[in-house]
Amino acid sequence: MGSTLNPDAVRQKIQSWYRSRGFYITLSIITMLLVWQVLSMLFSRVIIASPQDTFVALGNLLLKGELWTQFGHSLGRLFIGLGAGSVLGIIMGILAGMNYQLRFFLEPMRWTIVTVPVIILAVLAMLWFGIGSLPVLFLVGLITTPIVYVNTLEGMLAIDSRVLEMARVYKIPSHLKIREIYLPGIGSSIMAGLTNASGIGVRALILAEFMGGRNGIGQSFFKAWSFLDTPALFAWILTAFALMGLVEFGILRPTRDYLMRWKKT
C-alpha cells in the first residue's frame, strides 16, 4: 500500500523481460549450472568437479598467470591457423565462383578433407610435423579452409547477375569488381563461414594441442587430466569457452555488423 509503483507497469515490465532473449539465455545458463551442480553431488569429485571447486581452480590459474599464458598461446595459434585457412578459403572461393572449371576441380578435394575424421588428420599432422605448434597450425588451417571456401563460393554464386551485367556495361575492371561487388556481396556468406570455421577450428585446435602441443589450453587440459586434477580440467574447459566467446562475440559479430551496416536504415 502507498507504493508509487504502478502495478500495471510492473506487470508489463515483467512480461517484456519474460518475452526477451536475455531471459531465456539467463534461464538456460542457470539450468546448465544447476545440472552441473546436481551431477557433481551425485558423482565423485574426481569424475565431476563441482562448480565451486572449478571456480576456485580457475581463480588459482588466473592468479598464477598460468591461464593467461596458455590462453595466449592458443589464441595466437587459432589466429594464425584460422587466418591462413580463411584467406586461402576466401581466395579459392572467389576464384572458383568466377571459374566453373576450377570449381569442379576443387570439389573432390573439398569432399576429401571434409570427410576424413579430424582425429585422422590430427594423427597425420603429428606424424608429418612432430610435436609443437606446426601440427596444430596445419590442422586448424586444413580444417577451416574448406568451410570458408564453401561459404564464399555459395556467396559468389548468389551474386545478382544483373549487377554483374551493369559492371560489364560500364567496363569495371576485375580488381574493382572484386573489391566493390564480389567482396561486399559475399560479406555475409564469408562471415557465416568464419563463424562456422572458428567453432570447428577451436575444437581442432584443442584436440591438436592435447595430442601434440607443447602448451596451450589443449595441452594444459591434457596435464590436468594426467594428474587427475579434475577441478583444473574443468577450469580449462571454461577457458576454451572463453576463447570461443572472445572470437565470436569480440571479433566476428562486430565485424559482421560493420560489414553489413548498409542493411540497416
Binding site: 544483373r162 556495361v169 560500364y170 567496363k171 569495371i172 574493382l176 556481396g185 542493411k263
Partner: protein, 226 residues
C-alpha cells in the same frame, strides 16, 4: 554510330526480335516506344553488348556506353556517391577528380545532401536519379535509357528532362530512349520508332505540338495496346 542489320533473337524458343534493321547516326536522339514485352530492353542490351543476336549484325561504334537500367542496379552496399564514383574510377585515370566529378553529376540530378545515403534509404525517384547521374558521369558517347523517368513525379520528370536535353546536346551524346510514355519520348527524341509485333517502324516527327494535338497519342496507344 549504331546499326542493326536483320537482327533476330529468341529466348526459350520465343522470337523476341525478328529481322530488325535500323541505323542511328552520331549525335542523334532516338525514342523507341512499344508495349512491355515487345523487346525494347533487348534492343538496348544488344547495343550495350551484353546480348549477342542469334542472327544478323549489330554494329556499335562507341567505347563509352552509359546505361540507365529499368531496375537501376545500384550496389546496395555502397552509398549513392560511391555508386556514381565506381564507374568513374573505371573510366578516368586521375583518382583525385573522381569524387569531385561524381558530386557534380549528383548535384545536376538535384541530389545534393544525399551523397552518403545508401540506396535503400532513398526513394524510388532518387535512386533513379542516382542511376542517371551514374550513366552521365562517364560522359558517354552513347546513352541508353530504359524507362528512366518511370519513378519520378511529373513536375520533377519535366525538369530533369529539360536538364537532360541540355546535357545531351552539350556533349552531343547519341541517345536511345526506350519507353511507353509517348509525351516524354517526344520531348527528348528527334526520331521516333515504334516496336510492335509487326516489327520496328519509324514514325516521322513533323511537328511535335501538332503530333500531340492531332491525337497521335491515341493512335499510338491503339498500336501499343495500352
Amino acid at each position: 554510330m549504331i546499326k542493326f542489320e536483320d537482327v533476330s533473337i529468341a529466348f526459350n524458343g520465343k522470337n523476341v526480335l525478328n529481322r530488325i534493321s535500323f541505323e542511328i547516326k552520331s549525335h542523334e536522339s532516338v525514342a523507341i516506344l512499344g508495349p512491355s514485352g515487345s523487346g525494347k530492353t533487348t534492343i538496348l542490351k544488344l547495343i550495350a553488348g551484353t546480348l549477342k543476336p542469334d542472327s544478323g549484325r549489330v554494329e556499335v561504334r562507341s567505347q563509352r556506353i552509359g546505361y540507365v537500367f529499368q531496375d537501376y542496379r545500384l550496389l546496395p552496399w555502397r552509398t549513392a556517391l560511391d555508386n556514381v564514383a565506381l564507374v568513374l574510377k573505371a573510366s578516368i585515370a586521375d583518382r583525385t577528380k573522381v569524387k569531385e566529378r561524381a558530386i557534380g553529376w549528383m548535384r545536376l540530378m538535384r541530389l545534393q545532401g544525399y551523397y552518403n545515403y545508401y540506396p535503400r534509404q532513398l526513394s524510388g525517384g532518387m535512386v533513379q536519379r542516382v542511376a542517371i547521374a551514374r550513366a552521365l558521369a562517364i560522359e558517354p558517347e552513347v546513352l541508353l535509357m530504359d524507362e528512366p523517368f518511370s519513378s519520378l513525379d511529373n513536375a520533377l520528370a519535366d525538369m530533369l528532362l529539360r536538364q537532360l536535353k541540355d546535357v545531351l546536346a552539350n556533349y552531343r551524346t547519341t541517345t536511345v530512349y526506350v519507353s511507353h510514355d509517348i509525351v516524354g519520348a517526344l520531348s527528348v527524341a528527334q526520331r521516333l520508332f515504334v516496336l510492335s509485333r509487326e516489327g520496328l517502324k519509324e514514325y516521322p516527327i513533323t511537328d511535335r505540338r501538332q503530333m500531340l494535338q492531332l491525337n497521335l497519342e491515341t493512335r499510338l496507344k491503339s498500336i501499343l495496346g495500352t
